[in-house]
């Protein structure tokens, strides 16, 4: 469908200007600046407690402290530096429940968003249901700041007893990612000629049958990419998880803020949690690299 970005550029190589000398310097600098914050996060995740806060700061830890990662799974106690004030011991509970909660809500929200979005995308692309209004109304779910919808959703949810439930958070995640699933999948459907469905219908398939047996297999890759794209958004979501769930469900981003807000910051384990939380995002992100521009612009930029 679309080629990956660098490949397409190489095709036009004859026309292209060569990168000037100072161009290398600037790109090199930009690469360093891009990588530095993640380098710092990773290094901090390996620092022993004594090097979390020091002046001057520790750039490379003297020894790799894997305890920071281990304690995420086992839970444990940290005493503040010096160790004399035993009254200030910080208890660190395991993050496994948070990882599970995040996984459930991400998967649930993504599946719901894709299923509902796929159906609606066929309705919009093939039957023009709702004219121009429906797609724009869907889009507004992404355009409005979520904080403006927060108060009434909380009120509605407490009336319906959906606060602190998986289904409540999953539905909220689905609604706020529907714009991506509808618009992206619609842009994939638009690329498949309607003649294919029409000839299948001549052979006796119903319109729905034609959608799901003819077009859907052809856009499978695009739908998968859309799903991963939405999974990245759901896994990263913070505001809704912070306000719609409290005790029964704690997602990874919410868990992360617990430690920052406490009396002393547990730099090491927290950074380790940060690293663990972004690894799936990076894997997903790069695996859908060629669909990224399309996703980020709701299908407006095709490649």
């Amino acid at each position: 469908m679309s080629r990956s970005e660098p490949e397409a550029a190489e095709k036009a190589e004859v026309l292209e200007e060569k990168l000037a000398k100072h161009g290398y310097v600037i790109l090199g600098l930009a690469v360093i600046l891009t990588l530095f914050p993640l380098f710092w996060l990773f290094m901090t995740s390996l620092k022993p407690q004594g090097e979390w806060v020091s002046s001057p700061p520790t750039w490379i830890p003297s020894s790799a402290e894997f305890k920071n990662y281990l304690i995420l799974f086992t839970g444990g106690n940290y005493s503040p530096q010096g160790g004399s004030q035993t009254s200030m011991i910080l208890t660190f509970s395991s993050v496994i429940p948070a990882l599970i909660d995040s996984a459930i809500c991400t998967a649930g929200g993504t599946i719901l968003s894709i299923v509902v979005g796929l159906l609606a995308a066929f309705g919009i692309a093939r039957h023009k249901i709702g004219g121009n209004f429906l797609p724009l109304f869907v889009l507004s779910a992404r355009m409005i700041p979520p904080v403006t919808a927060l108060i009434p959703i909380i009120i509605l949810y407490s009336t319906l007893h959906l606060i602190d439930t998986y289904i409540g958070l999953i539905m909220a995640y689905a609604v706020f990612t529907l714009p991506y699933s509808v618009w992206m999948i619609r842009s994939f459907i638009d690329e498949i000629p309607t003649q294919l469905e029409e000839s299948a219908m001549v052979d006796g398939l119903s319109p729905l049958g034609a959608h799901f047996k003819v077009t859907l297999p052809l856009i499978r890759g695009g739908v998968m990419a859309t799903a991963l794209f939405i999974a990245v958004l759901n896994w990263s979501e913070f505001l809704l998880a912070l306000t719609l769930t409290h005790e029964a469900i704690i997602t990874v981003p919410v868990k992360l803020t617990y430690f920052v807000a406490s009396v002393a910051v547990l730099y090491g384990p927290q950074s380790a949690l940060g690293i663990i939380a972004i690894v799936p995002l990076i894997v997903f992100g790069y695996s859908i690299q060629r669909y990224l521009a399309r996703g980020l612009t709701f299908g407006a930029v095709k490649r």
């Binding site: 970005e5 660098p6 397409a8 036009a12 190589e13 026309l15 200007e17 060569k18 990168l19 790109l27 690469v31 891009t34 993640l38 710092w40 996060l41 020091s54 001057p56 700061p57 750039w59 719901l112 299923v115 159906l119 609606a120 309705g123 039957h127 121009n132 429906l134 869907v138 355009m143 409005i144 700041p145 904080v147 403006t148 919808a149 009434p152 009120i155 509605l156 539905m171 609604v175 319109p207 990263s236 913070f238 505001l239 981003p253 992360l256 803020t257 920052v260 950074s271 939380a277 972004i278 990076i282 992100g285 790069y286 690299q289 990224l292 521009a293 612009t297 407006a300 930029v301 490649r303």
Partner: protein
Amino acid sequence: MEQRNHRSLLEKLSRIANTKTGTVVLLIGPITFLLFLILLTPFLIEIFLSLSSWDPAKGNWWMAKFDFGSGFLTILQDSRFLMALGRTAMFVGFAVVAEFLIGLYLANLVSKSFRGKKVVFSVFLLPMFVMPLIVGYTFWMIFQPSGPIDHVLTLATGIDFMSTFWLSNGILAWIALIATDIWHWTPFMFLILYSGLVSLPENPISAAKVLGASNWQVFKDIKMPMLRNIIIIALVIRAMEAMKLFDEIYLMTGGGPGFDTETISMYTFTTAITTARIGYGSTAAIIVLLISLILIITAVRPVLLVREK
């Protein structure tokens, strides 16, 4: 026997689904239900709340007294709210313009031919994949007094910057927040503009070069006009997203020092959630919503424009 019943039920269902109405209901029903439940109903509730004076301690919200929106008059004179609006506009302006210029410059560099292009391209995408909250946490660490930024500044200038409290000074905190946003979202601009640059038709460009146009002239007079729609889309989408800024501020400054870094999202959140002034918070939310709706209407046109091509 049972199986046959089962099958005939399925057949009946599929016959219903394949009628014209059935198809429409099946395709659009689920999305209508979700949007109605989680988007439309809440906003109707919110409009009602913004026009009433509800106190959660005194009964259910639907029994609240109507006060014909006196909250709107109060909030438009509330300097804290107006300042938050102004700060948000300022933040969106600075951050989005900076991201656009840096993104355009880098996209133009990377579109040239050099070795290691794929690696550079991939590295530039990386920040976009990191979740906003962790971006906030990482930059919060970096901007701590005697953190790496202070260290580098001290080493580079020879002046002692080691105890700079970036996040407890209004102006410095804004510099830190804008720097954070630039790091996080310049890749978005880069990706969109790069996609635009490499998919430009070759003929006008090569023709201009044959005629002796300089690279700068080709960039300014040919590439830029052809990229116009993509640039508008990128700017508009990025501006809408920047307007929502919450996670990073929540983690890095919490809106402080004082209210110095309080944006409208932060303000609405604090008013409605932290201090539980629901009615007032709803009023703020409605105003923010109206502003975003105006932006959406301007935003949607270029997106549609490109789709139609």
